[in-house]
């Protein structure tokens, strides 16, 4: 039985935000070439704020209009669509045969991936923009009501909830026994996965929209106080922090010893994540709020358009004039890039 959303069943799968629970940025052992054409284009019928996810032959995209689309990647045609009761800003995640996503009606829905029918729902008291993350059969999600929730990923039954100090738009990083999440109260929290007990909370200078990555006992995350933080995952102690030019809504992607994150100052930053030493920074747009993703030979980010940067130098190697995004992330499949634009257009680029 699948116990988490982190394990792609096939080479091209991309089951959750940034590819897997480890937030490794969806790195794949394949080349990412400059796309030459759109193989197909799909209209979602409303703005798309979140990122698409890929499972074998299905691309799943959620629209702010409240419709979640399952698109056959071979043809770019709709397999099914699920109409949620409210806008969907949350990036879907895949767990077994279920597709999980949050909705502005305060619920997380699980929908059957084959039929598009509802399997279960789990409630909170305000909109859920974060992406549900499953680990050990438990779905974790934050809500704008200020609580972090744990629910049985097979049934949606509540296991526990824990009130933090502010709205939660950050997507949880679920480690084996601990959860890490940013909060609108400016704190980065670590909670016990089993009980929701708060193990530590480290303050930053403003609210947090960014989602953490955890690598080698370090928690990496951005804050609206302009800083990128690296914390000791066991204690919450700040190991290093780096000041960018404006607030950070982007989330880090990690590859090798480098972490990459965007800032609203328009730059993409690459750090040696153990030391915080800046490798490079590159201007990619006027404002960067989306997370980057890392392929074997390129770092991709949506910032007005789609940019691909050389991982070692940060030099822009190609760009495509489509794919404006707030939080969307391209899905890098072996021969295709799947891209969701803020205006609701979905592309398969090859």
């Amino acid at each position: 039985m699948t116990t988490e959303t982190s394990t792609p069943k096939a080479l091209g799968d991309w089951p959750t935000l940034l590819g897997d629970n480890a937030r490794t940025g969806g790195q794949r052992k394949h080349q990412t070439h400059s796309p030459e054409k759109a193989v197909w284009q799909f209209r979602a019928g409303g703005a798309v704020r979140s990122a698409p996810v890929l499972d074998d032959d299905l691309l799943v995209v959620a629209s702010v209009s409240g419709v979640v689309h399952a698109i056959e990647v071979a043809t770019g045609t709709s397999k099914w669509k699920f109409r949620a009761p409210g806008p969907v800003h949350s990036t879907p995640s895949l767990f077994g045969n279920a597709i999980l996503f949050g909705c502005d009606d305060g619920k997380v829905y699980a929908v059957d991936r084959h039929a598009g029918s509802k399997l279960w729902e789990a409630s909170s008291q305000a909109e859920v923009w974060s992406s549900p993350v499953v680990r050990n059969g438990v779905a974790f999600f934050g809500s704008a009501d200020g609580k972090l929730y744990a629910a049985d990923a097979a049934t949606g039954h509540a296991k526990w909830s824990r009130e933090l100090g502010g709205r939660i738009y950050s997507t949880v990083y679920a480690a084996e026994n601990a959860l890490y999440v940013g909060c609108g109260d400016g704190k980065i929290y670590c909670l016990e996965a089993e009980s929701g007990k708060i193990l530590w909370a480290t303050p930053t200078g403003n609210g947090i929209d960014s989602s953490p990555a955890v690598v080698d006992d370090l928690v990496l995350i951005g804050s609206e106080d302009f800083f990128v933080y690296s914390l000791n995952a066991s204690s919450g102690e700040v190991r290093w922090k780096y000041e960018t030019g404006l607030g950070i809504a982007s989330s880090p992607a990690v590859s090798g010893d480098v972490a990459v994150i965007g800032s609203k100052d328009g730059f993409l930053y690459a750090f040696e994540f153990h030391t915080g030493k800046l490798r490079w920074k590159t201007a990619v747009g006027e404002v960067v709020t989306a997370p980057p993703v890392i392929a074997d030979d390129a770092i991709c980010i949506q910032a007005g358009g789609l940019f691909a940067l050389d991982p070692s130098s940060g030099k822009i190697v190609w760009r495509a004039g489509l794919g404006g995004a707030i939080q969307s992330v391209p899905v890098l499949a072996p021969d295709t890039i799947y891209l969701a634009s803020l205006n609701g257009e979905i592309y398969a680029l090859r």
Partner: protein
């Protein structure tokens, strides 16, 4: 290309089709077209409130400033708290901040806070100030669910990360996304009708949240120049953030923001519900507004202004931005020089001598003539604390 256009254009890869108002057929040396008749449809039997514009203290503008309120683009929550309390007490003559706020808000009110996120993240209504306003309103007994922070475009609110930065319980409403046309989120019976340049849709509708949901509005404009209206302050934040389909009022080089901004502000119930204006002058954009992200044209004076009179407030704002432009050697916002007009967004954003339209700062005085407030500088009780 401005950022709003850039985001949209980036999505569909056809930027040139989306730059609003850049009609090469209209040259800067052409005479301005005659203003069309403007038809206003407000709530017919709405009883005007004495709190409505120009409100309880016509002509009075309180300005407080502290350079430490913003340091390297970061705003100090404690200093903003102090500034707002001082300003509110001075505006109302009350000795306590709570009593000052109680002049405008009752516990049973549904309070709308009209933000301006359109320059986010470089210059927008600061979440720190919004947090202080929310705290003050809550201190009067208004529950968080009865506080609505709103603006037209949900994606601009998202860019400012307001959703993560404001307290739990408060509703955050983007009336529309940038890509959906139609009147969802707007009241079809309340509108401003005029044909400015032969557009197919001649109506601008009032947002439903203003028409039907909120009972009071606290307006939080920013301090910015505006390529079409001269400045964007209290009046424009209300008018063009409440009605849809407003970009059609300006097409290069001409702008009908005068008189449309003032006219829209007279429409009920917008006029009566707008009881207080708190201008966020932590940052001041003196060129490239309203959407610029170019820090060269953004100062950080740490100003906060409060007033019930949007005309007086915007008059002070206009003077301040004119002064800053003068210091930097930029031409006056009143200048109508055909050679300064450019259709090139890049030139506009990086050269303070260029502009997209003949600006219309006269919209403020026009609003004064409509009874919305005091536009004559000498008659304004401008108190600088």
């Amino acid at each position: 290309m401005d950022r709003r256009t850039f985001v949209k254009a980036g999505c569909i890869g056809s930027a040139s089709l989306l730059i609003q108002g850049l009609d090469p057929g209209l040259r800067a040396d052409t005479a301005p077209p005659a203003p069309p008749p403007v038809e206003l449809h407000g709530l017919a039997d709405y009883k005007a409130s004495p709190l409505g514009m120009p409100g309880l203290f016509p002509g009075r503008v309180i300005e407080v400033r502290d350079q430490k309120a913003i340091v390297r683009n970061r705003i100090s929550q404690p200093i903003v708290h102090q500034l707002l309390e001082r300003a509110m007490k001075e505006l109302t003559g009350e000795s306590s901040a709570r009593d000052a706020w109680a002049k405008f808000i009752e516990p049973t009110d549904i309070v709308g806070i009209k933000i301006n996120p359109s320059g986010a993240p470089a210059c927008c209504s600061s979440p720190e100030i919004i947090r202080e306003i929310i705290a003050a309103v809550r201190s009067l007994g208004v529950p968080p669910r009865n506080i609505v922070v709103y603006d037209r475009y949900s994606y601009e609110i998202d860019l400012g990360s307001y959703q993560a930065l404001l307290p739990t319980g408060v509703r955050i409403v983007g009336i529309q996304d940038a890509f959906t046309s139609g009147v969802v989120g707007y009241e079809p019976n309340l509108y401003c009708d005029a044909n400015f340049f032969g557009e197919w849709e001649t109506r601008s509708y009032m947002a439903s949240v203003v028409a039907h949901e909120v009972t009071k509005i606290i307006n939080v404009p920013t301090m910015k120049d505006h390529s079409a209206s001269g400045v964007t302050g209290a009046l424009k934040n209300l008018a063009y953030g409440t009605f849809n389909n407003v970009a059609r009022t300006h097409r290069t080089p001409h702008s009908f923001t005068n008189p449309v901004i003032g006219l829209m502000c007279t429409v009920e119930p917008l006029r009566s519900k707008s009881v207080l204006h708190i201008m966020d002058g932590m940052r001041q954009v003196w060129h490239g507004g309203p959407l610029t992200q170019v820090q060269d044209f953004i100062e950080q004076p740490g100003i906060l202004m409060v007033s019930t009179d949007p005309v007086a407030m915007d008059t002070i704002e206009l003077e301040a931005i004119e002064k800053t432009r003068s210091v930097h050697g930029a031409p006056s916002l009143w200048q109508h020089d055909a050679s300064s007009i450019t259709p090139d967004m890049k030139a506009f954003f990086h050269d303070a001598t260029r502009n997209l339209f003949f600006r219309q700062p006269g919209h403020i005085a026009a609003a004064g003539k409509l009874g919305l407030g005091v536009a004559e500088l000498k008659q304004i009780d401008h108190r600088l604390l």
